[in-house]
Each structure stands twice: as C-alpha cells, then as structure tokens.
C-alpha cells in the first residue's frame, strides 16, 4: 500500500500507521521466524512509534521510519541479538551477473513458491530483509537506505549480494533436487 511521504497536517498516527499493519507483520514474521515473537515485535513497534511520533519529521518517509523502528526492535530482541550481523561491505565484486545458468529460469520452470520461501528463510537476516523490502514492499533505494540505516551505496552492493546468495541457495537446492519440489 502506498503511504504518502508527507503526512497531511491533520493526519493522525493511526491514519498513517494502521495501513502498514499487514506488511509490518509479514516482515516481522520473516525476521523472527516465529509467530509469537512476530506479534510481540509488531506490538512493540507500534508502541514505540506512537511514543516517538512527535519526533517524526514531516517530510521524511513514514513507511521507512516504521520499518526502521521494527528492525531496530528486532535487532535488540533476544532472537535479534543471536543474529550475526555481517558486514559485507569489504566485498568489492563488481555488481553484475551472478552466474549461469540462469537460476531464475529454473525457478520459474521448477521451483514452486515453497522452495523460494525456504531459501529466503535460510538467508542471513541482512540479506533476507533487504530482498523482502525491495521486492515485496517495492521500496526505492532511498527508502531502503532509510529503513535499514545504511548508505545508498551499501544498499546497492548489499542488494546485489543478497540476490547472488539467493540464486546460489536456489541452485544448490535445484541441483540437489531433493527438497520436495
């Protein structure tokens, strides 16, 4: 759902935040991999955002702001602290093709939704989150930078590496062929 970058002057927190509820829950569930934790995370996110709404700067991206709160809450949670934060910025590989044959083609031909979901779940969190925000939420690079609190250049390199890692996982599974396709 599209949320305006600039809330209307009379817009309430409720008006802006509730339309994001389904997406935020989906994202929380992907991050935590657990229903109860996802529910707690979403509630915590809304409570924190409501408290901090007065400090939200009109003109900045509300959706990215909400995702950022959710993500920070997750990283500070028990399961979030177990997450290994990988700093992938040392990898200077040129952004480009992630190898052949095209696993995407194979994906369409052979893989069903479940195998992609399993591969996404197996990705490190920092790859999983950027892929979900980019492809599912269709965030721009600028929004991604705000939501993930990383520079624009890092958005592009991390996105490239995330896609590459996903292709690699899918290739392994498709080559193994034993995952219930």
């Amino acid at each position: 759902m599209e949320v305006p970058d600039q809330p209307l002057p009379a817009a309430t927190f409720e008006d802006l935040a509730l339309p994001l509820f389904d997406q935020l829950y989906n994202f929380a569930r992907w991050l935590t991999q657990d229903t109860a934790e996802a529910e707690d995370l979403v509630q915590e996110t809304y409570a924190k955002a409501l408290r901090g709404f007065s400090s939200f700067q009109v003109g900045t991206n509300f959706r990215a702001w909400m995702y950022r709160i959710l993500r920070n809450s997750f990283l500070n949670s028990r399961s979030g602290l177990k997450t290994t934060v990988v700093f992938d910025e040392e990898d200077h590989e040129t952004v480009g093709s992630a190898g052949s044959p095209n696993p995407e083609s194979l994906m369409i031909e052979q893989a069903n939704r479940e195998i992609v979901q399993q591969a996404l779940a197996d990705l490190p969190v920092h790859y999983r989150e950027i892929l979900l925000l980019c492809e599912v939420e269709e965030m721009s690079y600028e929004e991604l930078a705000q939501a993930l609190a990383i520079p624009l250049g890092t958005v592009m390199s991390r996105l490239f590496r995330a896609r590459k890692a996903l292709r690699s996982l899918l290739q392994q599974r498709l080559a193994g062929g034993g995952h219930g396709m």
Binding site: P7, P9, A10, A11, T12, F13, E14, A17, L18, F21, D22, Y25, N26, R29, W30, A38, E39, V42, Q43, Y46, A47, L50, F53, S54, T94, V95, G96, S97, S100, N102, P103, E104, S105, M107, I108, A111, R113, V116, Q117, L120, L131, L132, C134, E135, V136, E138, S140, Y141, M156, L159, F160, R163, L166, R167
Partner: protein, 249 residues
C-alpha cells in the same frame, strides 16, 4: 552471461532506479543485446518469484484489534499547535525581556561611565597646578577665549548679586569630543560646569539632578548643547547655578 553495460546497470534498471535517460538507453540496449535481454527476463522472473514468496504471513485479527486499541486518536497537528501556542509566546517573551534587560543594563553602564568621567575631569582640574587656562572672573573675557578652541559657542550668566564667582575655563574632552570646562566658586567650594554639543549619543543620560562618586550633579540640554554641573556643594546650590546658566543660554 551479460555484456559490460548490462552488468553494471541491469539491476538498477529493473529496480526502477535509473534516470529516465539511462533507462531509455538501457531499453535500447536490451533490444539490441539478446544476452542482456535474456538476463533481464530471468532477473524480472526472480524479482517476481521473491515478491510472491515474500507475501507469506498474515496477522491474526486479535493482534490487529490489540494494536488498534492501543493507538490513541490524538491528531498530531493539534499536539504540535498546542505546544506552539504555549511555548512560542513564552520564548518570545523571554527573548524580549532579556534584550530589554541587556539594553537597560548597557544604557545604565554607559551613563555611569559618562558621569564617572565628568567627576574625574572635575577632580583632575582641581588637583592640577593650573586648573584653568583662562583665568578670569569676567565672562566677557572667558567666553571669547573659547573661540576657535571648541566648535560651538555659549552664553554665560551675569553673576552679580549671586554667591557664585567665575574662576575661569579650559578646553576639555569627553568621549573624544571637545567641550568647555568652566570653574565657578561658591564660598570655599569649586563647581565645574561642562558644556558639549548634544549629539544624541548621550540621549540615555537623564536630565535633572544626578549623583556620582558622592558629587552632586545636574544636567540638561538646551539649544543643542548638553550642560553638566558637578560639585561637592549641596544639590540646592548646584540647582541655583544651573538656573543661572539656563537663564543665560
């Protein structure tokens, strides 16, 4: 495999992050380069697969109800206007009062500085071996002496019948401005009379009886000239001399 052009910009193109010009160039390239076109198609399929797979979880209705219940409906704009209404005038008031206090304290400091300097000039003249440069009790001798020495002229009172005696005069300076310093005697006391051009800079100075460093003083402006009378006599005596000078000018 894709060619160099595709390698660098294909993802950004498919993510809608290229400028219109770059995107147009990429479209042209994709029509000409089959390798890149195939790769682009595969990547689009990959994006769609992730988008479809990523929409996986839906929240329960109970959770939605719990979260919605916890949200207040206080409009953000009203909150912010409330603080503006309360705080902006308060802050303005503080700023104005601070500025006013600063102005008043600076004006007071400046006034004290001028009065202090006048007291110093009075004392310094009395302590000098030659308190006056023109030594005469005759106002018709003293007044012409200042011609060419100060950039203005003034009138001195006839003292016959009064207790005051003119001792003489000298050129003096206050805040880099030349003026006349006249010395009068009343019984055993010397009284200084200072006359300067009134340039408005001393506007902060009050007219009327003053007191500085235990000296009694009087000050007024008349005909563009600022007068000061300074002495250790009583305020009434200072006033008496002031009246004579006022009437003469």
């Amino acid at each position: 495999m894709v060619c160099e052009i595709g390698r660098e910009k294909l993802d950004a193109f498919l993510d809608g992050e290229l400028t219109p010009a770059e995107a147009a160039a990429m479209s042209v390239h994709l029509r000409a380069c089959s390798a890149c076109a195939l790769d682009a198609l595969a990547r689009v399929q990959g994006k769609r697969a992730v988008a479809a797979a990523g929409k996986r979880y839906e929240p329960g209705t109970q959770l939605r109800a719990r979260v919605a219940k916890n949200l207040t409906t206080k409009p953000r704009s009203q909150t912010s206007w409330f603080w503006k209404i309360v705080f902006v005038p308060a802050i303005l008031l503080v700023i104005i009062s601070l500025a006013f206090n600063l102005y008043v304290s600076r004006a007071t400091a400046r006034r004290q500085t001028i009065l202090g300097e006048l007291a110093d000039l009075h004392v310094a003249a009395l302590a000098s071996a030659t308190p006056v440069d023109v030594l005469s009790a005759d106002r018709h001798t003293v007044k012409p002496w200042f011609q060419g020495r100060i950039p203005f002229t003034f009138n001195l009172p006839e003292l016959q019948g009064s207790e005051f005696t003119l001792l003489g005069g000298r050129v003096t300076y206050l805040a880099q401005t030349p003026g006349a310093h006249l010395l009068y005697q009343l019984r055993k006391h010397e009284i200084s009379v200072f006359i300067f051009q009134d340039r408005g800079a001393e506007a902060a100075l009050p007219s009327g009886p003053l007191n500085a460093a235990s000296f009694n003083m009087d000050s007024w402006v008349k005909n563009g000239l600022r007068y000061f009378v300074v002495g250790d006599v009583s305020a009434a005596d200072i006033q008496a001399l002031s009246t004579l000078l006022r009437d003469a000018s």
